[in-house]
């Protein structure tokens, strides 16, 4: 019998590799496509140079007052630079800013640690730290409990407040929403109906309405004389709102875990919580990761709505700056553009982190 030898590899034909065939195939395959390509090039040529000129070349960079913005054809970045401390830190006392920075550094450090640490340590160290972080941060920022100068929440503000509120909300919402999602799947009628009511309420009511309820209505339910901090109420509202959405994300994740996984866990004799936490939860998180992140980005951007109830987050600080009597020169384009860019950079970074987590979790199996 003749021995089997596969045919030798041949190179790809010349007319499909290289730049010229690529251009021909992708940009000018038909007359109509060629026309569209040329139109797009023309659009870039007319729009990009003036835009870059306004943004960078003619822009005013140095100075501390409005008077420094001499070139009216360029952006007045002096406005953004002069107000940058307020944009980022609000009215928090300058000499105490290290507290905010410490909290943010701790957040970044824990995120990095959860990537770098070995799996066993990650579960034992990073997760508890994550859950503790919001509370430790509040203690540090408030200061009165640990002998530092007391800083009332009225002074907290700026972009760091957006970040910390969003982070603190999602951290608490994570376990809460998981329990709600679990409750919604429960066989026990009471637990199931409570979960469904909570989820549907916080998903069905607009976030702005929830904020108003938190700031105006909620105090009516507290006993006379108790004064629950406004920021704390906002945090609770954000957490519950986030939990409602994430519970539905988790529910989708639960449904995507094959029945065989439950059966295999059952047949080993694992108890309900062992099965849920060791087998099901890791797979649910993996499946839900893109949606969890999308929900988080939504929540993060929604923190700017807080300007309506008078929380000094970044957008409301920007509006304050725009109406400041020393800066009435019409810098709203620069101001809002800056807010947009800062938020965009953060959201885009989170997308990158998320896809990196997805790659890390993807152990290439579909069964």
């Amino acid at each position: 019998m003749k021995e089997f030898t596969p045919l030798p590899d041949k190179p790809a034909p010349n007319d499909v590799v290289g730049i010229i065939p690529w251009l021909k195939d992708n940009l000018f395959p038909t007359p109509l496509n060629s026309l569209v390509t040329l139109a797009i090039i023309a659009f870039f040529v007319t729009v990009i140079p003036p835009l870059f000129d306004w943004l960078f070349f003619s822009a005013n960079w140095s100075g501390t007052t409005q008077a420094a913005c001499t070139n009216k054809d360029g952006a007045c970045w002096v406005f953004v630079i002069a107000w940058s401390k307020q944009f980022f830190y609000g009215s928090y006392p300058v000499e105490e800013l290290w507290r905010i920075n410490t909290c943010l550094l701790a957040l970044v450090a824990i995120i990095v640690a959860s990537f770098k640490l070995h799996k066993d340590l990650r579960n034992k160290i990073a997760i508890p730290l994550f859950l503790l972080l919001p509370f430790l941060s509040i203690i540090l920022l408030d200061g009165s409990l640990i002998g530092l100068e007391y800083v009332a929440t009225d002074y907290w503000g700026g972009f760091t407040l957006n970040v910390m509120l969003a982070a603190a909300s999602i951290i608490v919402a994570f376990p809460l929403s998981f329990l709600w999602a679990l409750g919604r799947r429960s066989d026990m009628p009471f637990i199931r109906s409570v979960s469904v009511i909570l989820i549907e309420f916080f998903r069905g009511v607009p976030v702005l309405a929830l904020f108003f309820m938190g700031s105006v209505m909620l105090p009516l339910f507290f006993p006379e004389g108790t004064n629950v901090d406004k920021l704390l109420r906002v945090w609770i509202v954000l957490t519950l709102f986030m939990s409602g959405y994430m519970a539905e994300v988790f529910r989708g994740g639960f449904q995507a875990v094959p029945n065989g996984q439950y059966e295999a866990a059952d047949s080993l004799g694992l108890g309900f919580w062992q099965k849920t936490l060791l087998i099901i939860l890791p797979q649910v998180i993996k499946i839900s990761m893109p949606n969890i992140l999308a929900t988080f980005v939504m929540l993060f951007k929604n923190t700017t709505f807080l300007l309506i109830i008078g929380i000094f987050e970044m957008l409301s600080t920007t509006q304050t700056a725009l109406t400041n009597s020393n800066w009435l020169g019409g810098h709203s384009t620069e101001g809002y553009l800056f807010v947009a860019v800062v938020f965009w950079i953060c959201c885009f970074s989170m997308s990158m982190i998320s896809s990196s987590i997805e790659r890390k979790l993807d152990t290439s199996h579909k069964n």
Binding site: Q261, A264, S267, L268, L270, Q274, L278, I279, Q283, T363
Partner: protein, 256 residues
């Protein structure tokens, strides 16, 4: 009925005792008056057309399926509606599934040590030693650090068998363990199962591998339409079928 019941508990030879087991899916009567006794160390192959209830019956034994009437005693413990009781029975019964059902987010070694560590509360080192012992027995110790998705179907199924064995079960249930495998991988899984049978493990195996049945089974059970129609030694059952239904079934699977 309760008198029979007490008698059956006294009989120590029988590790599984199923009495008048009935199960319905809604109106559909899947299992009809199933009576089955399995001796310790006995190897039983269950065959029958699809939808005959053979998988369902097997899955009742470790309570992956509920039943509505009848009684079931596994290793001296009666199956009742109680979580602790069900978990106790599941610890004695290993199960191998058609689709392996390995935990995809854990390495092979972690798949094997999960039960010993969390259910039997063994120290990690000891659990890993046990896991490696069984991985060697199914001849894939070199795959310990890989994830299930990186293994072939036959390897995954051998890991699944090893995972069950790590719990040191009294009984092993196999629910069509080779049906999802390519032909060249069926043999490697059957080899492991034959070895296991030779060591005296009590086995209940739902399969269409008649060669395996002839080789290892002490008894072959033929089920159809939710009933045990015939049971006998493999030689008798295959060569001398008593019922039309079994004759028809055998003619269909042995024709080619």
């Amino acid at each position: 009925m309760s008198i029979n019941h007490e008698q059956s508990i006294e009989n120590n030879d029988d590790i599984i005792i199923i009495k008048d087991l009935n199960k319905w899916y809604g109106d559909f009567h899947v299992l009809k008056d199933i009576n089955l006794r399995v001796k310790k160390g006995e190897r039983i192959v269950i065959c029958g057309p699809s939808g005959s209830g053979k998988s369902t019956m097997t899955r009742c034994i470790n309570r992956l399926e509920e039943f509505q009437r009848g009684s079931l005693i596994v290793n001296g413990v009666e199956m009742i509606e109680d979580v602790k009781n069900i978990e106790a029975i599941r610890r004695e019964v290993g199960m191998v599934f058609q689709h392996f059902n390995l935990f995809p987010h854990l390495t092979i070694l972690e798949n094997l040590t999960l039960g010993p560590i969390w259910v039997q509360k063994k120290p990690k080192k000891e659990a890993e030693a046990i896991a490696m012992k069984y991985l060697e027995r199914v001849k894939i110790p070199d795959q310990a650090q890989k994830f299930p998705g990186q293994l072939s179907g036959g390897q995954q199924q051998r890991v699944a068998i090893a995972r069950s064995l790590c719990m040191n079960p009294e009984i092993m249930l196999f629910d069509e363990p080779t049906s999802a495998l390519d032909p060249e991988m069926i043999k490697e899984v059957l080899d492991v199962m034959v070895e296991l049978a030779d060591e005296g493990m009590t086995m209940l195996c739902v399969t269409h591998e008649m060669g395996f049945a002839k080789k290892v089974a002490d008894r072959v059970i033929f089920m159809d339409a939710g009933e045990i129609v015939e049971q006998n030694t493999p030689e008798e059952l295959f060569n001398n079928p008593q019922t039309d239904r079994l004759q028809l079934f055998l003619s269909q699977i042995l024709d080619h």
